[in-house]
Amino acid sequence: MPMMRKTTVTRTSISGVLALLQVLGLSATLWGQTATVTASGGATNSGEVHLFVDPNTGQLFIKPGPGRVPFTISPSALTSALGGQPPVQQQIQEVKQRQEALEAKTREVQSNLEKTTEQVNQIVPAWQHYIDTLSSKMYVGAQFWADWAFYPRTGYGPQLLTQINQPGPGNGGFNSIDITRSYLNVFFNPTNDWILRITPNLYRQTGGTNATQFGAISAIGNTVNGDYTWRLKYGYAQYTRIFSGIDALSDDSLVIGQQPEPLVPWEEDLYQFRYVNLVTWNMSIASTFPGITLQGPIRLGPERLQYIDYNVGVFDEGNFHQFEQANTKEAMARVSFYPFGARWRYDGLGITTFYDIGWGNVTPDVFSSPAVLKGPQAEIERLAEIIHYTADTWGIAFEYDWGRNAWTPGNMFSGSGPAEAFGLVPTVPALVESQTLWANLANALQNNGRTFQQGFNLFGHVLLGDTPFTLFGWLEWWLANTAVPVNPFDFYRVVVGISYQVNEYVRIAIDYQGIIYYHKQFNFPVSEAQRFGFVLPSQYAGVTQISKVVPDSIDCIMMNLEYAF
């Protein structure tokens, strides 16, 4: 039994051993740990090399024999003998492994990069998303009305169109190019149940011309000089699902904010020629009020025909260009009944009732102050009964109006009025007396808190054959205060014209408009005027009659343009 003991060898001796092993063809298998094992010696899977040594001679043998003892070389000893470096094959293997790992890492990075690039490409900038979706969430439109108005005869009276004014009597030949509407209509509907509308519109800036002190010794002129400027016409939110659970009312809305008044805009569309002239009640009441309304059609039957169209609401006493001063509110309601059903808004025969009740826009302390005649503190009522028929190419309507305290000198002279009616003095001295008395008379007859109005209107239009021309007209008979037996401010209003439809967006018209005071000229007895609160100024004591009280009529020839989209 040979003595088996471990032998420690030096680095030098191991180098020699390695050289031997290389000669023997074992080196390739030593470090790979997959070495083949010789019959009794060689490399094992653990990396150790088992040999045999003759202690007496120091010879190494690969096979056991007499006098030989096992001689084991550990991997660490071999590594040390090779100067700490693994064999070349191992290094190559390591390099390959590192390269493969690096390539895998590179592929991973490349893959991640491609994914990132794809994600980046898929990212839509916020502004792009905003722009892309904006068109489906908002609509911007505009309306523009302009005219050239020529007055063969001027006079005092109501406005023929909003924003236009003519001088008083004796200014025949006056003419002006006017802009009467310049809307920028913006509708936002980010959700399908709420709509926000913002509509600025121009108005003519008029007012006093006092200069402004600018420093201790200087001043600058007033800029309130007649500019066209913009104001808010409409600004409201509309909830369109207020009755979504009721099929007949599913198109109805709740509207909150500064919005169209229930009658005037509706009637303007019924008439179709608002760009030419005002509808009757618009001379008394504004077309826009801050308020809350319920409105819409009531549709019935399988074809969902409109049988009723309504607009009911509560509003400020002050309209859209006035401060609200009152502690009361104004109620208005319009109900249109279509007995045979309407396929669209005005289709066929309709019967419309409008009622408005409110009070003067004054503060509560003024309203409650004692007054013989309430004047501007009075209750105000307006009623309209309209029977109308509308077809595709023609339409006709008759309107009866009744009002209470609904026609003040402010309405009467909205187009032009005597200077005295506005607290100014005419620059023609000879006219001061007559104008003072006349202005006082107008105030007494029309602003005494007990006035009643009546109006009769016939209006319509018809397409002339297969042409782009439409004949239209409006005849109005207005009784300014029926409590006055013969009221010098009663008038006829006549509008007749022809319209040319240029295309879907543009119409032009040429027309005549007249305010005709039809009573024979007469002198108004002071005693009769005093029944209505007329106060004779002390400097005119002894005057018994107010002379020539019937105003001069107004004639106007207009050319109008409408551009709307």
């Binding site: 609509y139 439109g141 309306q143 005869r153 303007e268 569309d269 179709q272 608002r274 760009y275 074809e303 969902r304 025909l305 409109q306 007995p339 045979f340 059903g341 309407a342 396929r343 669209w344 808004r345 005005y346 289709d347 066929g348 025969l349 019967i351 009964e385 029977i387 028929y389 509308t390 077809a391 595709d392 190419t393 006709i396 008759f398 009866y400 009546q454 009769f456 397409l463 042409t467 008979w477 009784l479 029926t482 037996p485 013969v486 006829y492 439809q501 295309n503 879907e504 967006y505 005709i516 005071y517 039809y518 024979k520 000229q521 019937v550 001069d552 009529s553 409408e562 709307a564 989209f565």
Partner: protein, 139 residues
Amino acid sequence: MESSMYREKESWTFRALSNSIRYIRMGERAETVKLGVVVGTSLFLLATLAGCATTKAQIASSDPPKSARIADNDPPPDVRHCALVTISSPVLYACNGKVYTEHQLSQRRLAMKQKKEPSNDHKQQAGQPPSFQGNSPKS
């Protein structure tokens, strides 16, 4: 003077109505007569227009189905033959019982016009070759 000239131009209708109202205001039965005039006038117009409405109802069966919805597949109506529904943004028109925006009417009219009138380019391709062919463009 001007007033008298205008009075001569007043129509007999207005004069008659004016005189009637003056009588009404001064008469003892003012309220009753006033109401009668209003009701009578309204009934007259209602009866007149109702006649038209009845006629419409009789021919309604040959009309296209009643609908106030916007239709996209019908031939384009002419805006001149349409009623104005609302002067808003956009303006809406009603034609044959259907409601269209002005944009729809405009687009359909233009599309129809293009179909009827081929463009100049198209005519040129079908006829003579372009005159500049073979020549270098001049700036």
